[in-house]
Symmetry: C2
Subunit: 232 residues, 2 copies
Amino acid sequence: MPGYDPTDFPAVAVTVDLVALTVAADELAVLVVRRGEEPFAGQEALPGGFVQPDEDLLAAAQRELAEETGVGPASAHLEQLASYGTPGRDPRMRVVTVAHLALVADPPAPRAGSDAAAARWAPVAEVSPGLAFDHDTVLRDGVERARAKLEYSSLGASFCAPEFTVAELRRVYEAVWGRRLDPRNFHRKVTGTAGFLEPTGETTTRDGGRPAQLYRRGPAAALHPPLLRTDG
Amino acid sequence: MPGYDPTDFPAVAVTVDLVALTVAADELAVLVVRRGEEPFAGQEALPGGFVQPDEDLLAAAQRELAEETGVGPASAHLEQLASYGTPGRDPRMRVVTVAHLALVADPPAPRAGSDAAAARWAPVAEVSPGLAFDHDTVLRDGVERARAKLEYSSLGASFCAPEFTVAELRRVYEAVWGRRLDPRNFHRKVTGTAGFLEPTGETTTRDGGRPAQLYRRGPAAALHPPLLRTDG
DNA sequence: CCAAAAGTGTTCAAAGTACACCCATGA
DNA sequence: TCATGGGTGTACTTTGAACACTTTTGG
């Protein structure tokens, strides 16, 4: 391994890409931007950009998320997903991208004024085959990660407002997994798991029916046993 | 996002690092190399190196693994782990490393003749606090990933020779998890899960006791329900 | 009153856990 | 013979799954 010098190693650009997911209208949606330039001009792509010289990878992803949606670090879950660096994935030059997964609570209207002209939240199935670069693969990996994480963590609450009902949380699970869940067993499961939910003491009737308890996300990370395999 | 030009984006080097694990003497061991130059000269580090201009990330990791151990792609499981790019993690310049996790069956004597002079398989606890760069973190993440994957896949067999007994496989699990398992329930579990093991029809007495059936790894990926929480 | 949704109780089946027990081998 | 480890059977407990049922709101 020779000494490090800019001429010693290949020219590689490092970017961060975002798989930003939200649940809107009981459907899993992803943030995409319309490309204005070649390559893939006119096609949609995941938002992304260069990592700045003194910027951590996660910080770069946070910056991108804020730029495209206005969502700050406090209102979304953000974690690294995987890196993609196949030669030729960007025809212009060698680009290694570190993809990140963001779970966003409320679908705030994407800011049209920023550098990414036309950003929008689109149902995953609507854009999924058809994204630029290798972003179909990246999106698939992100959705798969999100599905897996709901099963053994309390991350599903990241898709909900700070205070939410069990029914709202259940609709998140149903949207992400694409499967109906038994409301009664779901209720028993999430309220019966220590640390998963924190009751606020207040109730609401916004779902219809009788007043429902409002909860906040609890500190628990584990839900481990397979969470409800059935439908209702 | 401006056009791509080597002067437009920060100079970043991309490397691959390896968390190569094996089970030797009923203990989880990791491949480390002794550094000969600054920074961290004299300290041990995970093996790694630059990604070549037209080389895929996984291919680069395969090359590194072969260079350091002589192990080819067929005899080891290799997957991407995560990327680490905190500014300053390498004092010389900005380096983003894509860490990979390798599970190696037999601990072949590391090749001393290669560019990494002194490579060795060391018990994880022996080197763990004390590695160069941020490699303690990388190693911790790799071990955590390995532990998790054993629970819901048949990857444990990657630590065994092509043909192995249930007892050998159990010792792998015990080494990785650092916990004793009930031999009888373990046997029932792995032989009772469809696709997990493939009997070869032959037996051996190398473990002592009565002749034991030899198995190969089956195609199954899922083991899902929590695999044995108890000790013997 | 009726529909809809929250929340509880009950029952059944499946899976993990503990452990007694037998079998085959080598020393 | 005895110690060692492979392999089977069995009983107990926990958990998921299905579903009947009551309660409380809005229309």
